[in-house]
Symmetry: C2
Subunit: 309 residues, 2 copies
């Protein structure tokens, strides 16, 4: 799956991911009204609005992008109905040949991580049959529990040809509280990065490993350092746009081959119609605003990578 | 909710939690067969088997125990149908007046943690109405992202009178890989413990805080130390029984008032009928075996606490 991601990045010339993180407040009135008219102001109605919103954005952007990253929390907040919309979104994006990165940040002791791995990346045996639960292509994973919490995910990835992005240095303001603490002079995130590199070297997809890392766009210096610690890891970079990252900050997350990173933007794309720059589209044409924002993001990052050559 | 947990512990004289983590391999043939006869060898059939298994164990043990801890991964592995069984289990346990600790180990950047908090502990606004998604009483949370990933959970707990158990030192063999790393001479888990204590002191339910911690039974020395670092935090202690912890190892997780910890056992209770000690019950009476195992666990821990007085 890492090879498919790389192929698609090369074809689209877009090392980006659209984050499908639909807060109800991002969803235009007319979509909410239509969903509530059909299902009432219920969890089912909210889930329908989320799904219709996602579908229109995917329909208007899928030809420009290699991948999407639905954040499961934004669906889980609506309980079972929300998770149905998550699954529908995953399946629809895969039918459009997009690579789907489930941003689930799971992680637990070994036997429990194995259950998460099966549910999100693998297949579960039921009697004589087997079924995929959520079936994303990649998921994000939390490393706090150490190797034996990670290995079950790696094992399922090996079997299913899927991949992981393991949290190393996250994009949020307080990520340094634990992640930046020095251990023998090295920050914890570097130690985690070294482990990701080690796990990754043993699981290469081709020129890159299918065990990748998450490093926030908001920490470009750390990104540069971690790039050299994990040369064969693809880095998923959240925090572009709304969280403050810009194209020029991101060049050092990439390798000299122009690969090695995919930059995520969520709000900046899916709620673009709410920004002044895209207000002309109006709420009715919100997905056209998203397409324009995707084009601008590709140009910003492409330009920065070109300028850095 | 921390006060309800304490009340129930005092009434039952059982500082224990039953972990409802149903692997299909734990579920007796006759339950699986009945479920598959009705729904086929499908995810729905598996979820029905899980639910029937849980229900029987809860019916046979609820009067002896204060709380249950369903591990959501064991449901999530069956996709949407599994999560329906999770929700059904949460609701059923609450109808039996059990305190429900959702073992979800979520944690993310602020806005995303807020969505998880709403989905598991709070209510989501949909138009003019509001709904609870999963509605557990407590959940477990991962601290790797730092304070701003934790605060949204605390805020919802304050509004809803619910609670958290934050991972400090986990029970698995490789938990030390990152958690034991020394920072200015102190292990990372101690630093996280100090933060839990600080967050907790600002959010007291009564004599204890509603912001608690997870510390594995498999690390009694660290438990003793963390007990003094977080005097007002309730400690959720996994790893008893199947993972190797015993009553005598656990006395130092408790305070002198005999409170301050709840010990979880999952496999040791729910799959008790598979152990030699309870084999006489047979698979048909698996829930009676669970009841006997609960009684033995209460005696083991109660005896150890008595002996330590």
């Amino acid at each position: 799956m890492i090879n498919k991601l790389i192929d698609k990045i090369q074809k689209t010339k877009a090392p980006i991911v659209v984050g499908l993180d639909p807060m109800l407040s991002y969803i235009p009135e007319h979509i909410q009204k239509r969903a509530f008219a059909e299902f009432g102001e219920t969890l089912e109605g909210a889930a329908e609005a989320v799904w219709q919103f996602n579908k229109e954005i995917v329909d208007k952007t899928y030809d420009l992008i290699p991948a999407v990253k639905p954040q499961i929390a934004m669906y889980e907040q609506f309980g079972i109905e929300g998770l149905k919309a998550y699954k529908k979104t995953v399946d629809y994006c895969k039918s459009k040949d997009l690579v789907v990165i489930g941003d689930v940040k799971r992680g637990d002791i070994g036997s429990t991580s194995a259950a998460y791995a099966v549910g999100h990346l693998g297949k579960i045996q039921v009697g004589s049959r087997s079924y995929a639960g959520f079936d994303e292509d990649f998921i994000t994973v939390n490393p706090y529990l150490g190797s034996d919490g990670i290995q079950p995910f790696i094992q399922v990835c090996r079997e299913e040809k899927k991949g992981l992005f393991i949290l190393v240095k996250t994009s949020n303001p307080s990520s340094g509280e634990f992640q930046d603490q020095l251990i023998n002079g090295k920050p914890l995130y570097e130690l985690v990065g070294e482990k990701v590199a080690e796990w990754g070297m043993a699981h290469m997809g081709g020129s890159y490993s299918y065990i990748g890392a998450v490093v926030g766009a908001t920490y470009p210096e750390q990104g540069k350092m971690l790039r050299s610690v994990m040369p064969k890891a693809f880095i998923l970079v959240p925090g572009y746009g709304a969280q403050g990252g810009q194209g020029k900050d991101l060049v050092h997350f990439f390798n000299e081959d122009g690969l090695g990173a995919v930059v995520n933007s969520s709000r900046g794309i899916i709620a673009a119609y709410k920004q002044e720059a895209y207000a002309k589209y109006g709420a009715q044409n919100f997905a056209d605003a998203s397409r324009a924002a995707v084009e601008a993001m590709i140009a910003d990052i492409g330009g920065a990578l070109e300028a850095a050559k």
